[in-house]
């Protein structure tokens, strides 16, 4: 394969190819629309014959997440992917991983809910992803790709962050980005870590008994409350550091913007078209796209809130990220929401109309 070859593929396929290329040791998953191409692509590519990456169709989502918990405990780069109802089933395992400080990657290609809902796209798992999702005071690092290229690029980014902070990371995508095809340049091949490298880079991992250190015990359980509080304080310090250092976002035409849209993932793509329509009409609209949903670009949005006449949160849900925008702006500017639900997707024209009705034409 030529270097830097431009390919045409689905977001789900890009995730699978990127996993093989970024030294992933194992994928454990269970099929569900609209993300089944991840497992299908891995099965077609047979990475166990090339890089030695394990690919396993587990018996359930609960099994998948616990396989990642196990593999991550041994310092392995392990991942799973699913869609909304499947990710709901994984929350217990994710909380255990956060408590035990085990890295791992969870990909959620969202569909409409609640419950089994629909198989069409949605962004209604924002709260679940950014508020922890399981029990206890914890956070998952959440990246929201808005293109097939970012689906490919964020696999390695997520693994790196996950291991750097010993914390589960999530790619929060949806049926649009998962199913659409776009140009993509796959990341360069990075070999899987050797056993020695794992021992060196993950001194906390369960890599076998050694005479030169005490056994590494992986658990989220501590019945001594004083110890458990210390663990929690340590986690909170870690989360504060992540909030400080790892915020990622993109701005489009914000310099002269009188009005701001905030949107992530596929909604940001549709909102950008709405921005183009507004700009053609002479309306000065900007777009801020959070790339990390947790940590959230709170400071940047607070800053913008002081400069603009109003903010529209464009989400394919009933209004979830809007809470974080309101917490960031603290009433400095009106903040409204526009979105669709149940697998319906807003059109660019609908967003323009909502922006005019809810923000621009308000006194």
């Amino acid at each position: 394969m030529a270097k830097e070859e431009i390919l045409l593929m689905k977001g789900n396929e890009a995730i699978a190819h990127a996993a093989i290329r970024c030294g992933c040791d194992g994928y454990f998953g269970y099929p569900i629309t609209p993300q089944s191409e991840v497992l299908e692509t891995l099965a077609l590519e047979k990475p166990w014959e090339t890089t030695g990456m394990v690919v396993l169709q587990a018996e359930s989502e609960v099994a998948s997440i616990n396989m990642i918990y196990g593999a991550g405990s041994a310092g392995k780069r392990a991942m799973t992917s699913s869609s909304s109802p499947g990710v709901a089933l994984m929350q217990e395992g994710i909380a255990y991983m956060a408590g035990a400080e085990i890295p791992g990657l969870i990909v959620n290609v969202q569909r409409g809910g609640p419950g089994l809902g629909t198989i069409q796209p949605s962004q209604s798992d924002y709260f679940q992803a950014t508020r922890g999702g399981g029990n206890g005071d914890y956070n998952v690092i959440v990246l929201a790709p808005a293109s097939v290229q970012e689906m490919a690029d964020f696999v390695d980014v997520a693994f790196e962050l996950s291991f750097k902070y010993r914390n589960p990371a999530m790619i929060l995508s949806d049926g649009i980005i998962g199913q659409m095809m776009e140009k993509v340049i796959l990341p360069p091949f990075k070999p899987r870590r050797t056993e020695d490298e794992v021992v060196r880079e993950c001194p906390w991992a369960a890599t076998g008994r050694r005479k030169d250190r005490k056994p590494n015990i992986i658990t989220s359980l501590d019945l001594d409350s004083a110890n458990m509080e210390r663990t929690n304080l340590h986690l909170q310090e870690k989360y504060a550091e992540i909030r400080e250092k790892e915020v990622r976002y993109e701005t489009v035409m914000c310099e002269d913007a009188e009005y701001l849209m905030v949107a992530f993932g596929s909604a940001a793509r549709i909102a950008q078209k709405a921005l183009e329509i507004c700009r053609a009409e002479g309306i000065k609209v900007g777009l801020l796209r959070p790339i990390t949903l947790w940590p959230f670009p709170t400071k940047q949005i607070a800053e913008m809130g002081k400069r603009v006449k109003g903010i529209l949160s464009v989400e394919i849900n009933a209004g979830q990220m809007i809470d974080d925008i309101r917490l960031a702006t603290l009433g400095s500017t009106p903040v409204e929401h526009y979105g669709r639900m149940g697998g319906m997707v807003p059109s660019p024209e609908e967003i323009v109309a909502a922006l005019k009705e809810k923000i621009i034409n308000q006194k």
């Binding site: 629309t33 069409q120 659409m180 095809m181 776009e182 140009k183 793509r269 078209k273």
Partner: protein, 180 residues
Amino acid sequence: MKEEIIIAGFGGQGVLSMGKILAYAALMEGKEVSWMPSYGPEQRGGTANVTVIVSDEKISSPILSTFDTAVILNQPSLEKFESKIKPGGTLIYDGYGISNPPTRKDLNIYRIDAMDAAAELKNVKGFNMIVLGGLLKVRPLVKTENILQALRKTLPERHHNLIPMNEEALQKGMEIITKE
């Protein structure tokens, strides 16, 4: 240059693969492309559609509510998309799949009897390539040679013997498309 296209018909007609080959050929010509399918419980006989955008510039929304060009292969799709074509846009329909022809006066409407031509060529699966030939005749978005190159890239090698049949189908489509 930017063209926003909807291709819609029955599942099994090759709607999605036709869009993919078009997108791939455009990609090889250095264009920006997006291919957004309807997905889900689609099956042979159900409806299927795909939005293909070909552009010189980066594409914002892959989701559209209006289109420059519509390729319509069955009646339910005509009913769904006829009103969503921009004034002055292009509508191509298959005569066999449509019982009530389009009524709008502000479009460039073309008819292509691709189903009949596929039967005549004894190449029923070439239906979508006949339609694609017709589309490229009236909207020359990519070079024919790049469509063939895209086929070579996307088809598994064991099917490369079918490429001449596809080329014949493309040519046929270019010949038989007629303006209403």
